[in-house]
């Protein structure tokens, strides 16, 4: 039995990626079990999913604690040592990370391969939904599931142009993903604690959730308060008739950017 753990954020499609992998594996005669674990169920919040692949029906109904493979859909989460928890000795990490595996910042006894799935998603889907691109990398690096099966599963789930765009993302990632190397980064502890906690806890900071950050041009702002009303996370404050922003609370949803009638808010990609 092969056990996989996926890390992502709400909105990146980790749960969908997991289901597509299960279906693709099933086309190849494998028995697959795809378990999602929901936390706060908000766009941007860390999400964990688990996959088991076997030749016979999987009976275990607990979560995966000692994965053979860890897949990370988010470049910020990919840098957190917490993703390595329980990873088998000599296991494999496949990370959405904008630099080659030689520069991957985490170290230990594991193999790693990286792909800039965010860039591929922006090229093909025009959105930072990285789930399908990372599947191309998974197929290339593990050989566990053929890329054709992944494409078939995607088209089954998203028929038409949306499916085609995603298939494109899979293919590009498949081409661009290098074979894994021994991890060379730093061995260190995670300061922020475990990733896969579920439940409705208090979130200390949503800053790490963002792919983009809203940036205000107050000269264009008329002070209409629309952004302040619409922000779902109370990240926008008010001072001297103009909006202020608390980037610890801002999860980067882009609603303010969309709603601003004078286009005073620009959405800029966060740097890694």
């Amino acid at each position: 039995m092969i056990e996989v753990r996926l890390h992502g954020r709400g909105g990146q499609g980790a749960v969908t990626a997991n289901e597509i992998l299960a279906e693709a594996a099933y086309y190849e005669g494998k028995y697959a079990q795809a378990i999602p674990m929901y936390g706060t169920e908000r766009r941007g919040a860390p999400v964990t999913a688990y996959l088991r692949l076997d030749e016979v029906r999987v009976r275990e109904r607990d979560l995966v604690h000692e994965p053979d493979i860890v897949v990370v859909l988010d470049p910020a989460i990919a840098q957190r040592p917490a993703i390595l928890e329980g990873l088998k000795e000599g296991g494999l990490v496949i990370a959405n990370y904008p630099h080659p595996p030689e520069l991957y910042p985490l170290g230990g006894n594991f193999m790693v391969s990286t792909v800039d799935a965010t860039a591929i998603a922006l090229e093909t889907l025009k959105r930072p939904i990285t789930n399908t691109a990372i599947l191309g990398a998974f197929s290339k690096v593990t050989g566990l599931v053929k890329v054709e099966s992944i494409e078939k599963a995607i088209l089954h789930r998203f028929p038409g142009p949306l499916g085609e765009m995603n298939v494109n993302a899979v293919r590009r990632a498949y081409e661009r993903t290098p074979m894994p190397i021994q991890a060379r980064g730093e061995v260190r502890k995670d300061e922020e604690g475990p990733l896969s906690g579920s439940g409705y806890g208090l979130i200390r900071s949503a800053a790490g959730w963002r792919t983009f950050r809203p940036v205000w041009d107050l000269d264009k702002c008329t002070g209409c308060r629309i952004c302040w009303i619409f922000c779902p996370d109370n990240a926008i404050g008010w001072a001297e008739e103009k909006p202020t922003v608390d980037y610890r609370k801002c999860k980067g949803c882009g609603i303010c950017v969309n709603e601003c009638p004078t286009k005073a808010i620009e959405f800029k990609r966060e740097g890694i």
Binding site: V15, A22, Q33, H65
Partner: protein, 404 residues
């Protein structure tokens, strides 16, 4: 794997497939996590023209139950589903449905009553409502159980509603391959539903004549005995065991899968000195634990308890003569009384001349994760008791979450 018609699907989709294959005519659903997507899948089947069904949006679970009760009375095959708090809100009309001996089928996608996470307290809270209760361990069993439930509930010897429980999140959102039986075979297995009495206008006169006779005896006429309504209802549930077994056998013959004898399934109980009893998904994980212990030569087995109401008293009495100790794993607690399974099991075994020891374990409440090694520990303790060692306490809150 043999390729018949399979699809990788969640437990909630498997449930919706069961509804579709059973050609349900009226469904009423109010959204509550984690059952909500069942309604979405049913709506999709209807929108695609794959299912002819009236899906009634209601203002709450009390209304959904009242709606399917009425629809069932006039002769529609009906479905309703809920979770956790929704199940509690439905309590009152559930009595009406069962007292009217209406074969409504309900899915309860477990969510405990102390939070969002799964345990069996939602459906266990309905033990007094006069419904048959089944518990499932995987998505295939969810789909199959829906079909078997209509066949059982609508059998003229039964005419009772059936609740099918399955663990929220653990099954509701987990995807795995499920075999989809073909429609023609399901149609043969499950003939159309005929209401008793038929109260449609053209049948009404006949229905009036039928009052007080046959299965409506007692709770329509009273027959002079004010207790008759309870007695007849109680006996009807007890008598459903034979039909449950029969339907399970026939399902097995036709579709190549069955679930023990329909009431319980014994797993590796041959020569077992001790067995654990588990329900729902814990039974699935327990199979792995039992396999591990058997490979170490430990004589332990598993009984999966599928039908909780009516309780398989006879099966456990027979088992009780073969084993020295039984460990009941309860994913529920009746506050101030104890685990529902533990209490029932002891009741069932009390009259044996030589009884096995019965231990109790609370595990998996409020979504607590139950791992293979957790179950191994419970089975170890039960085996100790079987071998005459003193175990203390007899009933415990299992310490969960050890590594491995």
């Amino acid at each position: 794997m043999e390729h018949k018609s399979f699809e990788v699907m969640t437990g909630n989709k498997a449930c919706a497939w069961g509804v579709k294959l059973s050609r349900v005519q009226v469904a009423s659903i109010y959204p509550v996590t984690p059952q909500t997507t069942i309604g979405e899948y049913i709506a999709e089947f209807i929108a695609n023209g794959e299912l002819k069904c009236e899906l009634v949006n209601a203002e709450g679970e009390l209304a959904t139950q009242a709606i399917v009760k009425a629809a069932s009375r006039v002769g529609a095959r009906t479905f309703v589903c809920t979770s956790g708090p929704g199940q509690l809100y439905m309590h009152h009309p559930m009595h009406g449905t069962s007292s009217g001996r209406l074969p409504v089928v309900m899915a309860t996608v477990h969510r405990g009553n102390k939070g969002m996470q799964p345990d069996h307290t939602d459906l266990m809270s309905q033990l007094w409502t006069g419904w048959i209760q089944w518990y499932c361990e995987n998505n295939q069993e969810v789909l199959d159980s829906v079909i078997m439930a209509y066949r059982t509930a609508e059998d003229k010897r039964v005419r009772l509603p059936i609740a099918i429980g399955y663990d929220g999140y653990i099954l509701s959102y987990t995807s795995e391959p499920v075999e989809i039986p073909d429609q023609a075979s399901v149609d043969e297995f499950l003939p159309p539903y005929e209401p008793i009495p038929n109260i449609l206008p053209d049948k009404w006169a006949e229905a009036q004549r039928g009052r007080g006779a046959g299965m409506m005896e007692g709770f329509m006429s009273g027959g002079g005995d004010p207790q008759a309504a309870w007695r007849i209802h109680h006996e009807a549930i007890l008598n459903s065991k034979e039909v449950i077994k029969e339907v399970n056998e026939e399902f097995g013959k036709r579709f190549g899968r069955k679930y023990g004898n329909g009431l319980v399934e014994e797993y590796r109980t041959d020569d077992a000195e001790a067995v654990v009893v588990a329900m729902g998904t814990i039974a699935s994980t327990a199979r792995v634990a039992i396999d591990r212990m058997r490979s170490e030569g430990k004589p332990v087995g598993l009984v999966k308890l599928k039908t909780f109401v009516p309780f398989p008293t006879e099966d456990f009495q027979e088992l009780g003569k073969r084993v020295r100790a039984i460990g009941m794993i309860d994913r529920n607690v009746c506050l101030g009384l104890g685990g529902a399974g533990f209490g029932e099991l002891r009741r069932a075994l009390y009259d044996l001349d030589e009884r096995p020891k019965v231990l109790g374990f609370y595990a998996g409440l409020a979504g607590a994760e139950v791992r293979v090694r957790d179950i191994e520990k419970m089975a170890e303790k039960t085996l100790k008791a079987a071998r005459g060692e003193k175990v203390d306490p007899i009933v415990e809150w299992a310490k969960l979450g050890g590594g491995g």
